[in-house]
C-alpha cells in the first residue's frame, strides 16, 4: 500500500500528467458513448437506461480515483467508509423513492 502510494507520488512529480489526461479522455469518451446510446441507437428503454446509468457510475469512479485521490491520507479508510455510506444513503433514497412513488411501469 505505502509502496504503491510512493510510486503514485513519484509519477505525479515527474513530467506529463498521464493520470489526469487519461481521466479526461475516458470521461469525454464515456459521455459521448452514453449520448450515442441514448440518442443514436434505439434499444428498448429499460436497456438504454441500465447502460447509461452504468456508464455514469463508471465515470463517477474515474473522477473519484483519477482526480480526487480518494485512497490518499494517513487513514484513507475513514473517508472511504464515509463516502461509501453517503453513496448507500443516496442510492437508498433515489431507488426507494422511485420504487414507492413511481412504480407504474
Amino acid at each position: 500500500m505505502s509502496e504503491n502510494q510512493n510510486q503514485v507520488m513519484k509519477q505525479e512529480h515527474a513530467g506529463f500528467p498521464w493520470k489526469q489526461v487519461i481521466g479526461l479522455v475516458l470521461s469525454l469518451a464515456l459521455t459521448f458513448l452514453a449520448l450515442w446510446i441514448a440518442v443514436g441507437l434505439s434499444l428498448p428503454v429499460h436497456v438504454t437506461l441500465t447502460i447509461i446509468v452504468g456508464l455514469a457510475i463508471f465515470q463517477a469512479f474515474i473522477q473519484l480515483f483519477m482526480f480526487m485521490h480518494v485512497t490518499e491520507g494517513t487513514e484513507p479508510v475513514h473517508q472511504v467508509i464515509g463516502i461509501l455510506f453517503g453513496i448507500y444513503v443516496a442510492f437508498a433514497v433515489v431507488a426507494g423513492t422511485i420504487w414507492i412513488l413511481a412504480y407504474t411501469i
Partner: protein, 207 residues
C-alpha cells in the same frame, strides 16, 4: 509501534496538505461533508425522477432539452474538472504559479458553465414558457439544476478566495490543504453533473 509507523508514513510519503494533524483531519471531515452533499443531491434526484412525468400540460423533457447546449455545458465542466486536477498536480510539485494558473482557468471554465446554464434557463422561461411554477416536472428540474448551479457559483467565489491567499502566502501546509479541498469540491460537482446529464437529459431524450 503503530504510532511510529504512522508518523513515518506521514512524513516520507504524504503530500504537504496531510503534513499536520489538523490538515489531515480537516480533509477527512471534508469528505464527510461531500458524503452529506451526495445525500442532499440524492433527495433532489429522487424528487425529480418521480415528478418527471408530471408535466401538467406544459412542455416535457423532449420539447425542452436540446443536445447542443447540454453537450457544451457537459464538456466545459468535464474540462474544468481536468484543469482542476492539473492544479492539484502543480500543488504537489510545490509550483505556486502553475497552481494559480490552472485554478484561474478552472474558474473561467466555471463561469462559462454558469453562463451557459443561465442562458439555458432563460431560453426555457422566456421562449417556451417553462418556469419553476409551470409544472411539477419543471419545479423538480429547476430545483435540482439550480442547486447544482449555485454550488458551482459558490465554488467560483471560494476558489477566488483561495487564489488571494495563495498569492499572499504561497504554498504552506494550510494553503495547500485549502487548495486541495476546493479541488475535491470542484470534482464532486462534476460527479453530480455526470448524474444530472444521465438522469435528466439523456433519460429525458430516451423516455
Amino acid at each position: 509501534m503503530m504510532d511510529s509507523l504512522l508518523s513515518q508514513k506521514n512524513k516520507s510519503t504524504l503530500p504537504l496538505e496531510y503534513s499536520t494533524e489538523e490538515g489531515d483531519l480537516r480533509i477527512v471531515g471534508f469528505w464527510i461533508f461531500l458524503a452529506a452533499e451526495l445525500v442532499l443531491f440524492g433527495t433532489l434526484f429522487g424528487t425529480y425522477l418521480v415528478l418527471q412525468s408530471h408535466t401538467a400540460g406544459g412542455p416535457n423533457a423532449h420539447d425542452l432539452f436540446e443536445i447542443g447546449p447540454v453537450m457544451a455545458e457537459t464538456i466545459v465542466l468535464l474540462v474544468s474538472s481536468f484543469t482542476c486536477g492539473l492544479s492539484t498536480m502543480e500543488l504537489r510539485r510545490h509550483n505556486n504559479k502553475g497552481l494559480i494558473g490552472w485554478l484561474i482557468i478552472t474558474i473561467l471554465l466555471g463561469l462559462v458553465f454558469v453562463g451557459l446554464e443561465a442562458n439555458e434557463f432563460y431560453t426555457y422561461a422566456a421562449h417556451e414558457g417553462a418556469t419553476l411554477s409551470t409544472s411539477a416536472f419543471l419545479s423538480g428540474f429547476f430545483i435540482l439544476l439550480g442547486t447544482h448551479g449555485c454550488h458551482v457559483s459558490l465554488g467560483i467565489v471560494w476558489i477566488i478566495g483561495i487564489l488571494l491567499q495563495l498569492r499572499k502566502r504561497g504554498i504552506t501546509p494550510v494553503t495547500a490543504r485549502k487548495a486541495f479541498m476546493v479541488g475535491l469540491y470542484w470534482h464532486f460537482l462534476d460527479v453530480v453533473w455526470i448524474f444530472i446529464f444521465t438522469a435528466v437529459y439523456l433519460t429525458g431524450w430516451v423516455i
